[in-house]
């Protein structure tokens, strides 16, 4: 078990290293740079040269990468060119916002998707099954970008929730209700497709599980159907959902790019998109590293969940 998690940790470290390195090199190799973006057309060539020298953009790519790697090994991830702040300061505050969004979406998606999956997989009512599945198929087929636009549209015409942002300017930072109101649209935008995916997986798994002999036997012994399904069948059917949890966290991150843009949520996705547009290469690398950390953490979490519901993983 320890070896297994140690392997996963090594893999996670490699993932962070590879993704951030690749991001830095790709942004550096892409045509255009931060100086072009910030000074624009008509800039004095000598001023542009000075700016390139100031940001180290005049150095050969190998030298620049080596310097970055050396500094990163000492937890100095460079300075954002656009924001003129250390990447190590900028990324954690935005990553925390994304983590809040992703965690809330995961919780809401799980709390909606799993019970609905159990319901659709076990109910004898064809109408309920058809209704749940129809909604699920619709939501699964909608990318977070469209879902968030739709929810923003609903929020605009109903006035139920704020359309964007994380907090009202008038609210104190501790005002929980205000935060929750602002979270409604982005969290639902991420959670609804997720809930639909969970429902599809769980529904299928439950419908297979209740055909298993141990369930049939339990029912034959007179154990109440509700208890058998919500306790025994649920636990036995969790493996498919548990095994995709890590991937889901990764997809939450990529989905959050669009959602954060549309709902003006100040998260990692938005920061990375801004950084890429500005060719702010150290910031892009920092964001990519944080993103891959999310993915690695998600995979670990997924493995942990799997070991809970599937002892064979733990043992072997």
């Amino acid at each position: 078990m320890t070896t297994y998690f140690a392997r996963r940790l090594i893999f996670a470290s490699f993932l962070v290293f590879a993704v951030s390195s690749a991001s830095l090199l790709l942004v550096r190799l892409a045509p255009g740079d931060y100086v072009t973006e910030s000074l624009g057309v008509g800039a004095d060539p000598s001023a542009a040269e000075r700016a390139r020298a100031y940001y180290g953009l005049d150095q050969p790519i190998g030298l620049q990468y080596r310097a970055w790697l050396w500094n990163a090994a000492r937890f100095d991830f460079g300075r954002s060119m656009a924001y003129d702040r250390p990447v190590a300061d900028l990324v954690p505050e935005r990553a925390a916002n994304t983590a809040i969004l992703a965690a809330a979406a995961l919780v809401v998606g799980t709390l909606l998707g799993l019970p609905l999956g159990v319901l659709s997989g076990s109910t004898r009512s064809r109408i309920i099954t058809a209704m749940v599945r129809a909604v699920s198929v619709l939501l699964v087929s909608m990318p977070p970008l469209l879902t968030s636009l739709f929810l923003v549209f609903v929020a605009a015409i109903t006035g139920w929730f704020p359309i964007g942002g994380m907090q009202s300017p008038t609210a104190a930072s501790s005002q929980l209700a205000d935060r929750l109101e602002h979270m409604a649209v982005p969290v639902l935008a991420l959670a609804l497709p997720l809930a639909a995916s969970f429902e599809r997986l769980q529904g299928q798994s439950v419908s297979e599980t209740i055909q298993q002999p141990f369930i049939v036997a339990a029912l034959a012994r007179g154990v109440p159907r509700r208890r058998v399904i919500w306790r025994d069948a649920l636990k036995a059917s969790l493996r498919p959902v548990a095994s995709v949890y890590g991937l889901v966290i990764g997809s939450l991150l990529s989905g959050s790019f669009a959602v954060e843009m549309i709902t003006a949520w100040p998260g990692l996705g938005r920061l990375m998109l801004d950084a890429m547009r500005a060719r702010d290469l150290y910031l892009v690398a920092g964001c990519a590293a944080a993103g891959s950390l999310f993915l690695a953490a998600g995979t670990l979490l997924s493995d942990a969940a799997l070991t809970l519901v599937e002892p064979r993983v733990r043992d072997g």
């Binding site: 255009g32 910030s38 624009g40 924001y83 469209l146 636009l149 015409i157 359309i163 300017p169 938005r270």
Partner: protein
């Protein structure tokens, strides 16, 4: 609320979210970071913030209240000395003040912190008297030393506005004669005069002298600076900055302006600047009443839903008239760029550009690209530039057969009756047009150009590139055939955009940074522009610039098709607006804006 109008916005191309993003950044001109300043044609309940303290009929105006504005990008600094992005510029307008201001609505230069000035007989020096009793937001009095300090800071290595305050590479000099008077000396006579100083927010010496002395001015007032440290002379001060979320600005109690009744401006208590990166969400938020206005114009495709909302009384949709800067097409005219290309006999010829200009039906262009909300134009100076636009400069009509005849003179004819033109060797007359990805007007415009040129047999391959990559392509000297893009000039006065007009200029995009003029007509324009920039007589300057425009049109190094109309939306709470055609169309005069209670 506004269901029908919102649907149109919702269904609008969701990938157009980068619209205008690059436009704001690529500015040409002597004063790159300053927004172009032009007259708005509509003034809603104008309070007429004139050159002095007259700010309208204050007895009818309600003081107080909060205005919520959305912007699409974060500021990159709290100082335009170190960053020139649109949001930093907006913050500068709200929190800083200049000696003189170019009034966006009237186009006229007006005293601001300066009470008056005199020009020396040789036209080189200006003696400026500061208004008495002006204080920074921390209560420290403004003195001539602050002006001298600001100019010195502008020329610091960490400053981004150094270029814009030089004349042909030479700096201005400032000297304080006493606490209220300062003399600014130009290296040579300069037609626009003090207009140049509209670029120079006056900074507090007592706050920033240490940074300048330590060589860290370039890092001063970055985004990590505590907002309490930021001191200015503008109508507002920054109270709170939440990265990625919002900025809160409150009224500066020491602001120097009062209205006609002696009431101290600004009228507003607070401005909240919300950061909403996605343009559809910005419009929805406006329609839902969650924001009052946007810092920039709305897209043509948003016009219909916003108009419906305006008809219901939910908001105001203001038509400000034709834009100052039309999109343009240019060919790569760098000598030798096509030496090894079989198209070298025709691709850089004047006749090709004239043929393109004649072949594109500008009415079709207006209707297709801007959904009818635009005006056909033939040159870079649109009717919005009231001072420098001239009816003496001819306009170009639609003449496809004339275009074909012109192309025949450079050997491009349909030699195999397939409807397409070939050169004398029988090779297809074909070129690639680069444009910016994700900018709806540019993408649509390129398609119309392609389709219109196909009608005369020219084949155009449109290639879209990400904005930064596109700019790098034509700035770096990499090979390209043609570009369709948006360049924004920064002032109505052409002498402040000489880097576009003059052959040595960094914005002379068809052939950048020439050591000597490559053509006789570019030399002629250089000479005229030098005379135009140094002349002090306004009529003479105008006459010279009309000549420049005529030569430009005769050779059409850049081809123009249409200038869009500019619309801005504002909540019905807002009044006493003085809209201008340039960004920020409403907030350039934020000190006189009034809002009704929610």
């Amino acid at each position: 609320l506004h269901e029908k109008s919102a649907i149109s916005v919702f269904l609008h191309g969701i990938f157009a979210s980068q619209d205008l993003g690059w436009r704001g950044r690529f500015l040409t001109g002597h004063a790159r970071h300053r927004a172009a300043l032009f007259a708005g044609i509509l003034c809603v309940g104008c309070g007429a913030s004139g050159p002095t303290e007259s700010a309208g009929q204050s007895s009818a105006l309600q003081k107080g209240g909060e205005l919520i504005v959305s912007v699409r990008t974060e500021p990159r600094s709290f100082s335009t000395y170190t960053s020139q992005d649109a949001t930093t510029h907006l913050l500068s307008l709200l929190t800083q003040a200049r000696l003189v201001r170019v009034n966006s609505a009237s186009q006229q230069l007006e005293p601001w912190l300066a009470e008056s000035w005199t020009r020396s007989d040789d036209g080189l020096s200006y003696t400026i008297s500061l208004r008495p009793g002006v204080r920074f937001s921390d209560g420290v009095p403004l003195t001539a030393d602050d002006v001298v300090f600001s100019l010195a800071a502008a020329y610091d290595a960490g400053s981004m506005i150094s270029d814009s305050l030089q004349i042909d590479g030479e700096r201005l000099e400032a000297a304080a004669t006493d606490s209220r008077n300062v003399t600014v000396t130009f290296p040579r006579r300069f037609g626009p005069g003090l207009r140049l100083l509209d670029d120079l927010p006056i900074l507090p010496k007592h706050k920033l002298q240490a940074a300048l002395d330590a060589g860290t001015f370039g890092k001063a007032w970055g985004l990590s600076t505590p907002v309490a440290e930021l001191v200015g002379l503008g109508p507002f001060v920054i109270e709170e900055y939440r990265p990625g979320q919002h900025l809160v600005l409150t009224r500066n109690g020491h602001y120097f302006r009062t209205d006609a009744s002696g009431i101290r401006l600004p009228y507003l208590n607070r401005i909240v600047v919300e950061m909403v990166p996605e343009q559809d969400a910005q419009i929805l938020s406006l329609q839902a009443g969650q924001t009052d206005t946007t810092a920039s114009e709305v897209r043509p495709e948003d016009y219909s839903p916003l108009k419906r909302a305006a008809e219901k009384g939910a908001l105001q949709l203001l038509d400000l008239g034709v834009a100052v800067d039309p999109d343009s097409l240019w060919m790569n005219l760098k000598p030798g760029a096509f030496d090894n290309d079989p198209r070298r006999s025709w691709i850089q010829r004047d006749e090709l550009r004239h043929a393109i200009s004649l072949a594109v039906d500008r009415r079709v262009f207006v209707d297709t690209v801007y959904l009818g909300a635009a005006t056909p134009v033939s040159g870079p100076i649109t009717p919005a530039n009231k001072r420098w636009h001239s009816d003496h400069v001819p306009q170009i009509g639609h003449d496809p057969s004339g275009a074909k005849s012109l192309l025949a003179t450079i050997g491009l004819e349909d030699r195999n009756a397939d409807g397409l033109l070939e050169d004398r060797a029988g090779r297809a007359a074909r070129f690639t047009l680069l444009t910016a990805k994700g900018q709806t007007a540019l993408e649509r415009g390129s398609s119309v150009i392609r389709d219109e040129l196909k009608k005369i047999g020219l084949t155009v391959d449109v290639v879209t590139l990400e904005g930064n990559a596109l700019v790098q392509r034509f700035l770096s000297g990499s090979p390209y055939d043609a570009v369709y893009f948006h360049l924004t000039t920064t002032d109505t006065d052409p002498a402040l955009n000489r880097d576009f007009w003059m052959s040595s200029g960094g914005a002379h995009v068809w052939h950048l940074g020439q050591k000597l003029p490559a053509t006789a007509w570019e030399r002629e324009i250089d000479d005229l522009m030098l005379r135009q920039a140094t002349a002090l007589d306004e009529e003479e300057r105008r006459r010279l610039f009309i000549e420049v425009q005529k030569i430009f049109l005769k050779h059409q190094p850049m081809v123009y098709f249409a200038a869009p109309r500019i619309f801005v939306a504002a909540s019905s709470r807002m009044s006493n607006l003085t809209p201008a055609i340039s960004r920020p169309q409403l907030l350039w005069s934020a000190d006189t804006i009034v809002v009704a209670p929610r």
